[in-house]
């Protein structure tokens, strides 16, 4: 039985994936946003569980997290909101969250809830690979959750191969060494990096994240990879237009 992430990436060579912070702009926008994203043709979504101290995120996602927490978003509430999501949404859903709230929830309980509502994978930026392998891999796998690991331009080839070997869904390629939202456009160094990794022949598909904010960057990102994740640019759209015009945003990014 293949996970939805794996299926999507197997079917579709160039996916578009969207990140948004749960509870932003309004506490109960989560399902609406998910439904509209699916309808707009998005291939996969990362739902961010907001955290007070999101140290890998740039100002846009930070602010959306602060707002979401102010709105009252919690893990309990998010699972509550998502409990019937699989009735209306069928694209793969990845939950992205920092480790501390998950730890407080209880890692096993958290996995259980993810499985119950139909989450396919997790991105936990501050859960290091070795701790995952030694302590949580078994648990994640027993609940059918793919743990998505990151690589960056600074990650060594050896480590990339290790990460590839542990990964099951895709490898999250951080476009450049930077927090989210801090890239203006991709230069030669990044293109070279995309090419370099693509030519390594990893077993996992590659999806690029961080800094994708325009049709151009999207196009550059997917040239050598299997897809791209748009975060800050989408949060800015939500800030300006709320849950309206999501389809227009997606159309624009895809460049048609």
């Amino acid at each position: 039985m293949k996970n939805r992430i794996q299926k999507t990436l197997a079917n579709n060579q160039k996916i578009v994936s969207i990140y948004f912070t749960a509870g932003f702009p309004n506490l109960n926008d989560t399902c609406t946003i998910l439904e509209k994203l699916e309808k707009a043709g998005v291939d996969m979504v990362e739902i961010g569980l907001p955290f007070s101290d999101p140290l890998a995120d740039g100002p846009t996602i930070q602010e959306s997290s602060t707002q979401a927490l102010k709105n009252g978003m919690t893990a309990v509430r998010l699972f509550e909101q998502l409990k019937d999501i699989r009735k209306t949404v069928s694209i793969p859903l990845v939950l992205m969250g920092y480790f501390n709230p998950i730890l407080q929830f209880g890692v096993e309980a958290f996995c259980q809830q993810c499985k119950a509502v139909g989450i396919d994978g997790l991105i936990i930026p501050d859960l290091p690979v070795d701790v995952y392998e030694n302590e949580y891999k078994h648990l994640f796998e027993s609940y059918g959750l793919l743990n998505i690991l990151l690589i960056t331009p600074q990650t060594s080839d050896t480590r990339i191969r290790t990460i590839d070997s542990i990964s099951k869904g895709f490898v999250y390629m951080v476009s450049s060494a930077s927090v989210t939202g801090s890239q203006k456009g991709f230069g030669e160094a990044q293109t070279a990096y995309f090419q370099r990794i693509a030519s390594m022949g990893l077993k996992n598909p590659l999806v690029v994240g961080f800094g994708i904010s325009s049709p151009e960057t999207f196009a550059q990102a997917i040239e050598h990879t299997n897809g791209a994740i748009i975060g800050s640019a989408f949060i800015k759209h939500l800030r300006e237009f709320g849950v309206e015009k999501i389809d227009q945003f997606i159309e624009k990014i895809r460049g048609h």
Binding site: T66, L69, F99, P101, V174
Partner: protein
């Protein structure tokens, strides 16, 4: 080695390196090299000579006779306030700048709360001609204005952290973000025994010069190299780590860690991590931290910018967990009174951080012949405005 770090980077169940992959190369480079570099004789030589000729070490161990008389015990103050730049923080920044230099780094970043670590970092960057960027919470920029001025004089760029409680925690987030964005030529000089492994251990080792000196000074002054108590305030815990270090495994020496209770431990405005905290992850380390049931990090409060932090270093979480150290929480008011008392009795204006440690004498009785060594972690020059307005001294 029951209370010190293990080979995996943990103190008991606390520590580790809970960092995003973006930081992996930086932290790994450090982890692989720090012990080798530190043990290198040329490193040791330069480190020790700067501590001596530049920082002014050894700092005195001063028998405070009027304070001792008042509290009917034997009080020795370890005078880190006399260090260049005014606090223990410089011991660590000297070590880390030499480390950064040997790792070929060209740019330095740091977070700061009270500004002492920021000043100490700006200082060593000037000394080595390296670019320096310091992140500091907007509230701390206000309440520690003299230190902001000093950083500017020293050529550092001070960037205000405007998120969260706008204090130390948020400045640390910003510094980590900077490091993520600048992974190759930048070294992050963390200011306390916090952060991902190997920081807590590295910082503790740089600060351990404090207890090494206490041992030899105490031997000369009292004939015994170990006191009955070592008392230190704990923000992240670096001055405490330094003062405890060589006594960690000697359980005859009782360790007291003083935390900031703000308006009171249960007032909702506090930074008493050991009482209010639970196990979790903050700034790359598994430790005790103040957090909501949902695992959101709580915004702490203390009158003291250097103690206004919702976590403690993993060493201290372990010392608390095992009962090796006794943790005491001191309110703003009690700390301020203890600070003023030291001015009046001994002619020493302590940092408000250190004043928290001094308040122990009103809280706890010590024996007439017991020797209490207290880490006077810094001087109060940065805190004059707070003291003056608290006591209406104008």
């Amino acid at each position: 080695m029951k209370y010190n770090i293990d080979s995996r980077g943990y103190y008991g169940k606390f520590g580790g390196a809970y960092i995003p992959e973006m930081l992996y190369p930086n932290v790994e480079e450090l982890r692989e090299n720090y012990l080798t570099v530190m043990e290198d004789p040329s490193f040791q030589k330069e480190f020790n000579s700067l501590l001596k000729d530049y920082v002014g070490r050894p700092s005195p161990l001063y028998f405070a006779s009027r304070l001792s008389a008042k509290y009917e015990t034997q009080i020795y103050l370890k005078r880190e306030d006399l260090n260049h730049t005014g606090a223990h923080k410089i011991n660590n920044t000297i070590g880390q700048i030499l480390m950064a230099e040997r790792l070929g780094k060209k740019r330095i970043i740091a977070e700061t709360g009270a500004g002492q670590h920021g000043v100490a970092t700006a200082t060593v960057c000037a000394l080595k001609g390296l670019e320096c960027v310091v992140y500091m919470g907007e509230i701390d920029i206000e309440r520690q204005a003299p230190n902001v001025a000093r950083m500017k004089m020293l050529g550092a760029t001070v960037i205000p952290a405007r998120s969260g409680s706008k204090t130390l925690k948020d400045a640390t987030n910003e510094a980590i973000r900077d490091w993520i964005n600048n992974p190759i030529d930048t070294h992050y000089i963390i200011g306390s025994v916090v952060g991902p492994h190997p920081y807590p251990d590295m910082v503790a080792k740089f600060q351990s010069v404090v207890s090494a000196e206490i041992k030899s000074q105490l031997l000369t002054q009292t004939g015994k190299d170990a006191p009955d108590y070592v008392v230190a305030c704990v923000g992240g815990g670096s001055n405490a780590a330094g003062a405890y270090y060589h006594y960690l495994e000697n359980t005859d020496v009782k360790l007291i860690a003083v935390e900031a209770a703000g308006y009171g431990v249960n007032s909702g405005e506090s930074a008493a991590t050991s009482v209010l905290g639970k196990e979790g992850i903050i700034h790359g380390s598994k430790t005790l931290l103040m957090q909501t049931d949902d695992g959101q990090i709580t915004e702490p409060y203390s009158i003291s910018a250097g103690l206004d932090y919702p976590g403690i270093g993993p060493m201290h979480a372990h010392l608390f967990d095992t009962g090796r150290a006794e943790f005491v929480a001191i309110t703003d008011n009690d700390a301020m009174n203890a600070g003023l008392e030291l001015c009046k009795l001994e002619g020493i204006i302590p940092a408000i951080e250190s004043a928290h440690a001094l308040a122990i004498f009103e809280k706890k009785c010590f024996g007439k012949d017991e020797v209490v060594v207290l880490s006077l972690s810094g001087r109060g020059d940065k805190d004059l405005a707070t003291y003056i307005s608290h006591f209406n001294l104008i």
